[in-house]
């Protein structure tokens, strides 16, 4: 009995070590190029083409309306930045839907979780409002509901869920969840729908397809052809949001 359990243990260790070695040796590549895991139905992703963004913030406003957020809550935030020559450009920034989300690991009550389709969700019925996730998020993507959200008569008559956290609960933390309540019904996320410049794409890494509502692209080819990068790649958070530069800005920051 003892030898059996020891063998089991050693076998387990061997597998673990192998997995770690494989992960360490594997070349860095875009998730879109990686072989999809068959069990997964979809892996949501977003592409943000900064060449097209004109900083109008229609995405931010549409998001706030769709989720009944206060005006200060920018689940998709449009940063106004400058390249090295001092020219302005804009960088819309939603939640990165990390594969390895720092916010998820630090939650003491496991209120943040990642669903089977790669979306990081918050169970606001469980959140205790410690804001540790906000400290851990390298992207500042999370917002603390310090105030009651604007008065809202729920027209759908459905209670808030992690997938449809409307209205937000005071004293908890909320964030972008790529509008899974829309995408699940075959609609575009509010920000993608609202973008008049067609700078935002919603896509699926498994089906390898993405759309901005006007054109549909083959995701992996689109990313490769345009030298897409991910924000703070060096942190190994594995964002599911890809950026396309093109204004001479520094890549990969």
């Amino acid at each position: 009995m003892a030898s059996l359990s020891r063998r089991k243990l050693l076998g387990g260790l061997g597998t673990g070590a192998g997995a770690i070695a494989a992960a360490g040796l594997a070349p860095i590549r875009f998730e879109a190029e990686a072989a999809p895991v068959p069990a997964k139905k979809r892996q949501w992703a977003m592409v943000i083409d900064m060449r097209r963004c004109d900083g109008c913030k229609e995405c931010t406003v549409a998001c706030q309306e769709a989720h009944h957020l206060p005006k200060s809550f920018e689940w998709i935030k449009v940063h106004k930045l400058q390249n090295r020559r001092g020219q302005e450009f804009f960088m819309p920034q939603p939640c990165m839907q990390c594969e390895n989300p720092p916010c998820l690991r630090v939650c003491p009550v496991a209120a943040t979780f990642r669903d089977a389709e790669g979306i990081v969700l918050v169970d606001q019925d469980r959140c205790i409002g410690c804001r540790m996730c906000m400290a851990a998020c390298p992207y500042g993507a999370r917002y603390f509901n310090d105030v009651e959200p604007p008065a809202f008569a729920n027209p759908f008559g459905r209670p808030p869920t992690p997938q449809f956290p409307v209205p937000q609960q005071k004293g908890t933390v909320g964030k972008c969840m790529l509008c899974v309540h829309f995408t699940g019904e075959g609609k575009l996320p509010a920000c993608v729908e609202a973008c008049a410049m067609y700078a935002l794409y919603i896509g699926d890494l498994v089906a390898d397809v993405a759309t901005n509502g006007k054109e549909t692209v083959r995701l992996s080819k689109f990313l490769n052809d345009n030298d897409a990068f991910r924000y703070k790649e060096e942190l190994n958070t594995g964002p599911h949001v890809y950026y396309i530069a093109g204004h001479g800005q520094d890549l990969g920051y």
């Binding site: 630090v106 939650c107 205790i128 409002g129 906000m134 500042g140 310090d146």
Partner: protein
């Protein structure tokens, strides 16, 4: 110690038990009003939510987390002072261990309350137990702090048992009600038999050893709360030892102030002498020098590279918005107090106390700087600045006032100096020969 001195010691240790005077009520009343104001502010915050604090939708942490780290740190200083003095068998420790352990206990309770104040949904606090996720530093935190709380209570209680027996025998049936019952029950039938003495000393010895790794664990976990994030200025391997040292430094400073206060008000000058302040100031000096070393090591290695994450934090500290505060801390909270205690000369007690006030205040402010700035200086996201509101100020002042109030209440019930400890120290045979006695352990004044 002859019989007369011993009787005097016992008298001084016990004479304020159960006694209140106009001064006691005045001080306790003022402190109680401050604590009540803090409680009122907390009630206001519960009613209105965190929007009444400086914390907002993007500024996630503020005064409460600073207070949490600061008060728990003080607790650590109290516990470690007592534990180190016991383990090194410092003979001069007897009159001050009780005060140090009491400080540890009271500040730990205040520190734990500070973090509960920070939780935005205190109605769900049980979720921490129901859905505990072991990977979270906050889970490590509450496990460590609760363990440490139990340890601190035991560490305070064990040496108190013989003194409770003394209280029981001294006051006897004269004290009725809760206090008499508490003395009778809590003294656990202490008679001072050799068997009891042996068991007690064994227990205290184990706790004195245990409390050190426990306290280090607690403060390391507190540091990891910050260091496991990717934020520049927090994500540093030196954070845990730096926090431990900062905790000891601020804790020893506070213990010095507590000892000075009770010495003055309770008239304990005969037994808590300048010698005690000199030895404690040595401790302060050593810890302060260590802290400067750790801090220089941190800022040199990070500042030399100027990585994208840390550069804005260091700039804000050294030359930016927070530079006046930071340099004021370095000079006023470290250099000046250490200079004050480093030189010998007159007014030793006063100098040590001023240095302790500067160190304790400076360490609170340093915590404020290192907790607030990295949280507000993301490379892309210059959030608006954190500004504490009256709610946070009232709760902070109330928490600070709760410490002397708690100590006054504590020493309303229990002897302010350990009677048994003195008997143990004085009664023990003298193993050290003159000439071999280190001045630090023996006492030469």
């Amino acid at each position: 110690m002859d019989r007369r001195a011993h009787e005097r010691y016992v008298e001084l240790a016990m004479r304020n038990i159960g006694k209140t005077g106009p001064l006691w009520w005045l001080v306790a009343g003022i402190l109680a009003v401050l604590v009540a104001a803090g409680l009122f502010a907390y009630g206001y915050q519960i009613q209105r939510g965190h929007s009444v604090t400086g914390v907002s939708y993007t500024i996630f942490w503020g005064f409460y987390i600073v207070n949490f780290v600061f008060f728990i740190g003080i607790s650590y200083g109290g516990a470690i002072t007592s534990a180190i003095l016991r383990l090194t068998n410092a003979k001069w420790r007897a009159p001050i261990t009780r005060l140090a352990e009491g400080t540890a206990l009271v500040t730990l309770l205040v520190g734990s309350a500070s973090v509960i104040v920070d939780v935005a949904r205190p109605d769900r606090i049980l979720n921490l137990f129901l859905y505990a996720q072991v990977g979270s530093p906050i889970t490590w935190d509450w496990i460590a702090i609760n363990t440490y709380l139990v340890g601190t209570i035991i560490f305070f209680y064990l040496p108190l048992i013989p003194d409770l027996g003394v209280c029981r025998d001294t006051y006897g049936p004269a004290v009725r009600g809760l206090r008499g019952w508490a003395y009778r029950t809590l003294s656990l039938g202490w008679r001072g038999t050799p068997e009891q003495e042996r068991a007690l000393l064994g227990g205290i010895g184990i706790m004195a050893v245990l409390i050190i790794p426990l306290a280090i664990a607690v403060h390391s976990v507190l540091a990891w709360l910050f260091a496991v994030t990717a934020q520049g200025g927090w994500h540093s391997t030196i954070f845990a030892p730096l926090f431990v040292l900062a905790a000891m430094l601020s804790g020893v400073a506070t213990v010095i102030l507590v000892i000075a206060g009770f010495r003055k008000v309770y008239g304990l000058e005969e037994f808590i002498t300048a010698k005690h302040f000199r030895y404690l100031s040595y401790l302060l000096l050593a810890l302060g020098a260590g802290y400067i070393y750790f801090m220089v090591s941190e800022y040199l290695t990070e500042g030399y590279v100027q990585a994208a994450e840390t550069a804005p934090v260091l700039q804000a500290l050294f030359v930016g918005n927070y530079a006046p505060g930071f340099w004021a801390f370095v000079l006023g909270g470290l250099v000046l107090p250490l200079a004050l205690v480093a030189r010998s000369g007159p007014h030793l007690v006063a100098r040590t106390c001023v240095a302790s006030i500067l160190v304790a205040g400076g360490m609170w402010f340093k915590r404020y700087l290192i907790i607030l700035i990295p949280g507000m200086s993301g490379p892309l996201m210059p959030w608006e600045l954190y500004k504490p509101t009256w709610v946070e100020l009232a709760i902070t002042i109330g928490a600070a006032a709760a410490i002397p109030l708690g100590l006054m209440v504590l020493f309303f019930f229990f002897p302010v100096m350990s009677v048994h400890e003195m008997e143990e120290v004085e009664g023990a045979p003298e193993p050290l020969r003159p000439g071999l006695t280190p001045a630090f352990a023996g006492g030469d004044e």
